[in-house]
């Protein structure tokens, strides 16, 4: 008897509480917010990328700053020439944050819990990536701020610096597609961390310390196909020489190509992980 009564009550409650399928942008917003909250609860993962980038910025400037007078085609100050490298490396290592959050969910079993809700698969992927984008935007801003404090005088002013940070976010978010693929593929934090470090050699297969036309042989070939090259060149133009539509266009295009390839990979990795077997 009692069972009957309560059952009816349950059904009533159900109608009131569990409504229609949640709008996709809302799902993404919910999961992004949740990822951001937890990222800030583990701040020890946030500072190292910024600290290392700032450290190298100071080191490069101190060791190479004087020699820079002998390098042609720098365009402006050596600080302005080397700053993009620091921004790019902070945004690439910051891209690891998205993957770290995702892999923690997989390891703790919370990812399975989310799979049992009617949440869309793309929201599961975009939540951590967008949260990562916010974080690496902040990191790129801090590194840029340090550059300003060191006496940087950007040729394009504040709008140019915002464009630089925008490029950093675009590049880092594309690269996050790769780190997230590693997280989904391995389900293992150490492997994910290891995969993320591929950014490190990539930043040196580029016109890192001298302009592209001074690179030689295989390194020049490698730099020519490395999307990071075009992002760094676009940033250098913005900081040292002024608005350059062609350089900026190539930088954005390089980011978009990288992002497209990496997101195809990420969605494939998601499909494999969530495939019922």
């Amino acid at each position: 008897m009692a069972t009957q009564v309560y059952t009816q009550q349950t059904i009533q409650l159900k109608d009131e509480t569990s409504g229609p399928k949640v709008w996709l942008p809302m799902q993404i917003a919910l999961l992004t917010w949740r990822n951001l909250v937890t990222i800030f609860r583990k701040p020890e993962a946030l500072l190292p990328p910024v600290a290392i980038s700032v450290f190298f910025l100071i080191i490069y400037r101190s060791t190479l700053g004087r020699a820079a007078g002998y390098i042609p085609d720098i365009g402006g100050s050596y600080l302005g020439f080397i700053l993009p490298l620091s921004i790019v490396s902070s945004s690439l290592s910051g891209a690891g944050v998205a993957a770290q959050n995702l892999v923690r969910d997989i390891e703790k079993g919370y990812f399975d819990k989310l799979l049992l809700t009617p949440v869309s698969r793309s929201a599961l992927l975009l939540g951590p990536i967008l949260a990562g984008a916010v974080i690496l935007g902040l990191q790129a801003s801090i590194v840029t701020g340090v550059g300003l404090a060191m006496g940087l005088q950007p040729a394009t002013g504040l709008p140019g610096l915002l464009a630089v940070i925008g490029l950093a976010v675009l590049l880092g978010t594309g690269f996050a597609g790769f780190t997230v693929s590693a997280a989904l593929g391995s389900g293992n934090a150490a492997a994910t961390q290891g995969a993320s470090f591929i950014f490190f050699p990539l930043t040196f297969l580029a016109p890192t310390f001298v302009p592209l036309n001074l690179l030689d042989g295989w390194l020049r070939t490698a730099a020519t196909v490395n999307p990071i090259t075009y992002v760094i060149e676009a940033m250098r133009a913005l900081i040292n020489t002024g608005w350059d539509g062609a350089a900026l266009g190539k930088g954005v295009l390089a980011c978009l190509i990288l992002a497209t390839a990496m997101y195809v990979l990420a969605f494939y990795a998601l499909r494999v992980r969530t495939r019922r077997t």
Partner: protein, 321 residues
């Protein structure tokens, strides 16, 4: 509204290398009942629950949860089913209310309704004291209860619990049992639970199915299963295993079956109570003095022993230690 029933027909799950995790299982769980799936580690319990909750696909056969097919109507099944897996899935960096409210919102509740529901559930599983703390600081029992609460957010009609008390201390275990009974009694929820604890199946389930090596070897209400084994036993404890062994030799012809478990001798026979005087006098004649003598009714352990030829109890004791 679903049928709140679970109907499983010829369900199999094979893994590469001819591993038959589930090998042709049939059962029906009636609406509003508690069904206990009892078996040792690796018997196929978790695989079955993963198939029923849409996390895994069967190799063949069919399963309908609340009238929905687990393969072709996975989304509907997820809406009406609540699942607490054996491995607790919680984010240690989040707080209990945040976890519950997010889950509610993903199921389509408004922020306000989800937060309200979160507080209701925290009250239900008695975690209101720990609201402001991160889940990472919770004890095992608290995590288990929060995980249970998480599976209830969307008011499921059918609840799946995979070994809900494994790794819990006896007090937390009793808390979970009470919770499960309450959900079943007060909300009319159909509950499918797997366990390797006989006591748990005996206390909670209306119907128990015993699974071993992917096959259901016995099914029925605990009382009926025990009655089917039918044999009561006289348990006589001695001062040593060796004495128990000698007593066994003396009493061999009296029982249908004799078993020595450390220093205790178990004599399985029908109408054991009437046989007690004869047992005592035989022992006196042989100059063997027992320390204690008790009479036991058959248990699910006996059922398990009879149908599988092995004991589950030893594992039970090892786990509790």
């Amino acid at each position: 509204m679903s049928t709140r029933e679970i109907v499983v027909e010829n369900l199999t799950k094979y893994y590469p290398g001819d591993v038959r995790a589930v090998d042709g299982v049939n059962f029906t769980v009636k609406a509003g009942s508690i069904f206990g799936f009892l078996g040792p580690n690796g018997a196929g319990k978790s695989t079955t629950i993963k198939i029923l909750t849409t996390l895994a696909l069967p190799t063949s056969g069919s399963a309908r949860v609340g009238g929905f097919d687990v393969v072709s109507q996975a989304r509907e099944v997820r809406r009406i089913a609540g699942v607490a897996l054996q491995d607790i899935g919680l984010d240690p960096l989040m707080k209990s209310v945040e976890l519950l409210a997010l889950q509610g919102q993903l199921f389509g509740m408004s922020r306000k309704a989800a937060v309200k529901r979160a507080h209701e559930l925290l009250e239900l599983v008695r975690l209101t004291d720990a609201v402001g703390r991160r889940v990472g600081t919770y004890s095992g029992g608290m995590r288990r209860r929060l995980d249970l609460a998480l599976s209830l957010v969307h008011q499921p009609e059918i609840l799946f619990l995979d070994e809900p008390t494994t790794g819990l201390d006896p007090a937390s275990r009793r808390d979970v049992w009470e919770e499960v009974r309450r959900l079943n009694r007060e909300l009319g929820m159909t509950i499918f639970l797997t366990t390797q604890y006989l006591e748990e199946a005996d206390r909670l389930a209306d119907v128990v199915a015993i699974i071993n090596k992917g096959v259901i070897v016995a099914e029925g209400s605990p009382a009926r299963l025990k009655a089917a084994v039918g044999t009561e036993s006289i348990n006589v404890a001695f001062d040593s295993h060796e004495t128990a062994g000698r007593a066994g030799a003396v009493l061999a012809d009296m029982a249908q079956r004799i078993q020595t478990d450390r220093d205790t001798l178990r004599l399985y026979m029908s109408q054991a109570a009437q046989a007690i005087p004869a047992v005592v006098s035989r022992l006196q004649q042989a100059d063997l003095s027992p320390i204690s003598l008790t009479l036991t009714q058959p248990t699910l352990d006996d059922v398990f022993l009879q149908v599988t030829g092995q004991r589950l109890q030893a594992q039970d004791a090892a786990q509790a230690a």
